[in-house]
């Protein structure tokens, strides 16, 4: 352990600043990813709702068709 070789870091403070900046950007990216996931959830809910509505419309059209067929 005494004979360790060290590597000199030039512009250490600049590297620290860059690391902090990267951290901030990662935080913002996490926020945007969270927003996207929320939007996706809403989208999924909307899609489920649309599917349900379409099913109801489909049933009603079938009923209309049945009633019109009985008229004939």
């Amino acid at each position: 352990m005494d004979n360790q070789i060290f590597v000199k870091i030039e512009e250490y403070e600049k590297v620290l600043e860059i690391v902090n900046l990267v951290k901030e950007k990662i935080g913002k990216a996490e926020e945007t990813v969270g927003k996207i996931s929320e939007l996706k959830k809403q989208e999924d809910e909307e899609l489920n709702l649309w599917n349900k509505n379409l099913e109801t419309v489909k049933e009603k059209v079938k009923n209309i068709e049945k009633e019109l067929g009985n008229v004939k």
């Binding site: 360790q4 070789i5 060290f6 590597v7 000199k8 870091i9 250490y12 649309w50 209309i64």
Partner: protein, 239 residues
């Protein structure tokens, strides 16, 4: 009688037939003019009036004259050679220009050591004493020296302050090789993750565009369905 013997005999006979030229010494008294006759003027180089012993008086005068410029003589050629040999170094000798001599000087000084000699404290003290003496002698120069020394000390102080700032501001940081390797690996992994996430976002962006188009199409279908239903409703209740 051998063949050579015959030749020897012939040679003897020939030598008998051909008259030998009289020797100079033998003929010298005959050549000399009588005392009454005016003697021929012989060219005397040294102006002594004596004729050199080797000089042949029978020879024509032109041959005894000094050779002209166009004549070719071996002795003269050798003399000319000697002259040329002597004169050559004069032509090749470099001119004693001061510029040439100045250029040679630095080549000789290449071996000089320009490093300052080690001064002891006594030398410095001596220098200070000499300075004081000169200051006492020349008060006019004293002011100039003071200004120069002040400038030098100021510049030295500034330089030392700059170096202190650099040392205090730029601390040296070191990492072990293992930590350095780990950080590089982590940076590489992070870059890979970012690249993959970038590709995913690009794909999701394209999907979103496609989805928006599908939503629009769906909206249109719903609109058409609603129109048709309205038509049916109108037709049913127009009775």
């Amino acid at each position: 009688m051998s063949f050579l013997g015959f030749l020897k005999k012939d040679k003897k006979e020939d030598s008998d037939d051909i008259p030998m030229p009289p020797k100079v010494k033998d003929n010298q008294p005959n050549i000399l003019p009588p005392a009454d006759m005016p003697s021929k003027q012989v060219h005397d180089d040294f102006g002594t009036g004596n004729i050199p012993p080797n000089m042949d008086l029978n020879k024509p005068k032109e041959t005894q004259k000094e050779p002209s410029d166009n004549s070719f003589n071996l002795d003269n050629f050798e003399d000319a050679k000697k002259d040329s040999k002597i004169s050559k170094p004069e032509t090749t000798q470099p001119e004693n220009n001061p510029a040439v001599s100045d250029e040679k000087v630095p080549v000789q000084e290449e071996d000089f050591d320009f490093s300052l000699p080690d001064f002891s404290e006594e030398d410095f003290k001596l220098g200070e004493i000499n300075k004081e003496e000169t200051e006492d002698k020349k008060p006019g120069e004293k002011k100039e020296e003071n200004t120069n020394t002040e400038d030098v000390t100021m510049t030295m102080n500034l330089a030392s302050a700059e170096t202190k700032k650099q040392t205090s501001g730029n601390k040296e940081y070191y990492l072990t090789i293992m930590n350095c390797k780990k950080t590089f690996e982590q940076i590489g992994l992070a870059n890979e993750i970012f690249e993959t996430s970038k590709e995913l976002f690009q794909k999701s962006d394209a999907n979103q565009k496609n989805l928006v188009q599908q939503y629009k199409n769906n909206h249109d279908y719903l609109d058409q369905i609603q129109e048709k239903l309205m038509e049916i409703d109108q037709t049913l209740f127009e009775r």
